[in-house]
């Protein structure tokens, strides 16, 4: 069954930059898909469209047959709740405790009044602590999030996403801010938890070897288009070399675009 489906997604930023051109991707239940490509390829924009954070200029994104763009209010919030997100820069509340950061993932279904006083049900708290223990942060539950290392922070963010009990986990460059040794550990934890929870995952990565190690399928993107979409065994070095050819130039172009924007 298809959990995530993007059909002919085109995205143009208000300044006219065309970030995505007719991207079509389908992800089956239980699949782990890596999206690879040089910077400026449109991976992050695609992540935002998948997550319902941006609305495609044309085309449609459906998660479990629901188009987030068509929802409002409560339905929209609950649809968001079904998708767990992990960001490159963690996006945690630094001054709040690790536990409190994870409990944020339970808010959508918590009592809307009592939760304002940070009162969460026993079940929610137990789930949060259990997830933290499973990502190796059992000792850090009461510590402030900003006292943790980068790798630990990303695990907190992972626990927050998983505490939503999502169907789909999306990660945008989850380890780009970490050094390579830590990065591998965090990616392994993400994939292990995704398997244990029986989730479907789409990971934006820039590191080819990480992608090959953890993904079942790799989607190669370049200049806003899908260049290839193949099982990991069929992704050859030649394809990858082609994907990243002239990356220096592409990166410079992306930088110029950023400066212009």
């Amino acid at each position: 069954m298809t959990v995530l489906e993007a059909a002919d997604v085109t995205f143009r930023y208000p300044d006219g930059t065309q970030a995505l051109t007719e991207v079509s991707v389908g992800v089956q239940r239980g699949e782990i898909v890596a999206v690879l490509g040089p910077s400026g390829a449109g991976k992050s924009t695609l992540f935002k469209c998948f997550a319902g954070l941006e609305r495609p200029t044309s085309g449609v994104v459906r998660v479990e047959d629901v188009d987030l763009a068509g929802l409002r209010g409560r339905e929209r919030r609950l649809a968001h709740h079904r998708i767990g997100l992990v960001f490159q820069e963690f996006h945690l509340v630094g001054r709040a405790s690790v536990l409190s950061n994870v409990l944020v993932g339970r808010l959508a279904t918590a009592n809307p009044v009592t939760s304002l006083a940070h009162w969460m049900s026993r079940r929610d708290r137990t789930l949060a602590v259990e997830l933290l223990t499973r990502v190796g942060l059992g000792e850090q539950v009461r510590k402030r999030a900003d006292s943790l290392s980068g790798g630990q922070r990303q695990r907190v963010a992972l626990a927050r996403a998983l505490s939503q009990r999502p169907e789909l986990l999306l990660a945008d460059e989850p380890v780009a801010n970490l050094d390579p040794v830590l990065a591998a550990g965090v990616i392994d934890d993400i994939v292990r938890m995704v398997r244990e929870e029986g989730l479907t995952a789409v990971l934006n990565l820039h590191d080819v070897s990480l992608a090959r190690r953890v993904a079942q399928r790799i989607v190669g993107m370049r200049e806003g288009r899908v260049v290839f979409d193949l099982p990991v065994g069929e992704v050859t070095d030649a394809l990858l070399a082609d994907l990243y050819a002239n990356e220096g130039l592409a990166a410079q172009a992306a930088e110029r675009e950023e400066v212009a924007a």
Binding site: F87, L92, A108
Partner: protein, 285 residues
């Protein structure tokens, strides 16, 4: 790197004048004092004119000040020695003053939080909410505490309750503006992430925005408390309780020794509070 690329194909002699500042007269031209522009001159004349107008309209005069100096010395002289019999009264009233300031600040800040949320663009992006709140806040913020005190004295009668209400309302509008600005500079990434989990706006305020901004808010609140103790010391002038009432009375009785005692008590308390709050603020942020 760009410079080398630019130069490489064309090392022609006409490029050299660009390095002209090496020439003596060019250096001297650049080093010469420049005549100020007409705009600068007009601005300077304007400032002098404004100062002239404002000082004549207030009867500001150097000789009068110099002539008055002996009177100042006389006034201060009569304040010594301070009347220690006044001390217990002064201390008791100082506690009342502190009570007015603290109660007023706490309730004022509690009122300010919802106002400031409504006035923060990143929390309520709808322009009509933000603009309406900002206009209301700015209008009421312009009313000095003494005016509020007069209003509340006529509403609830003489005494500390009127003073507390005056401090509370003054703080609410003043702090609302401060907090709104604090919220608008908040890092919204965790906020957006919480929104993407499906959390409501009220929940995001309680779980993301306030925890992030609490230290800054607390630090400003201490600063405001400082100011409110000063303000509360003066509220007695209009009968709104606190030490100011006693100060006013002793001044009218020409009991300068007692006045001195009162002034010293206020001084000690304000300075202690100042030290305390700057210490706490350093620890907080």
């Amino acid at each position: 790197m760009t410079a080398t690329i630019d130069k490489a194909p064309d090392p022609a002699p006409e490029k050299t004048p660009r390095q002209a500042p090496t020439r003596r007269d060019e250096i001297e031209r650049l080093a010469r004092l420049r005549r100020p522009s007409w705009g600068t001159i007009a601005g300077a004349v304007g400032v002098v004119a404004l100062l002239g107008w404002s000082s004549t309209s207030t009867g500001f005069s150097g000789p009068a000040l110099v002539d008055g100096l002996p009177h100042v010395a006389d006034f201060v002289g009569r304040m010594f020695p301070p009347n220690l019999e006044e001390l217990p009264v002064a201390i008791e009233l100082m506690f009342e003053t502190l009570g007015i300031a603290i109660t007023g600040t706490v309730f004022g800040v509690l009122l300010a939080i919802p106002l400031s949320l409504l006035a923060a663009r990143n929390i309520f992006p709808q322009p009509w909410i933000r603009d309406t709140t900002r206009v209301v806040v700015n209008v009421f913020r312009a009313i000095p505490e003494l005016m509020w005190a007069l209003l509340f004295v006529s509403a609830v009668g003489l005494g500390a309750f009127a003073g507390t209400l005056a401090i509370m309302v003054g703080t609410a509008f003043g702090v609302a503006r401060l907090f709104a600005d604090i919220f608008e500079t908040a890092d919204m990434r965790a906020w957006d992430a919480a929104a993407a989990t499906g959390a409501r706006k009220s929940q995001r305020i309680a779980w993301v925005l306030l925890p992030q901004q609490l230290p800054t808010m607390a630090s400003y609140t201490l600063l405001v408390l400082d100011g409110n103790v000063r303000a509360a010391s003066l509220l007695g002038l209009v009968g709104a309780g606190g030490i100011g009432m006693e100060l006013n009375q002793q001044l009218r009785l020409f009991e300068y020794g007692s006045v001195m005692t009162i002034v010293l008590v206020v001084l000690v308390v304000v300075m202690t509070l100042d030290l305390l709050s700057s210490y706490v603020r350093k620890r907080f942020v």
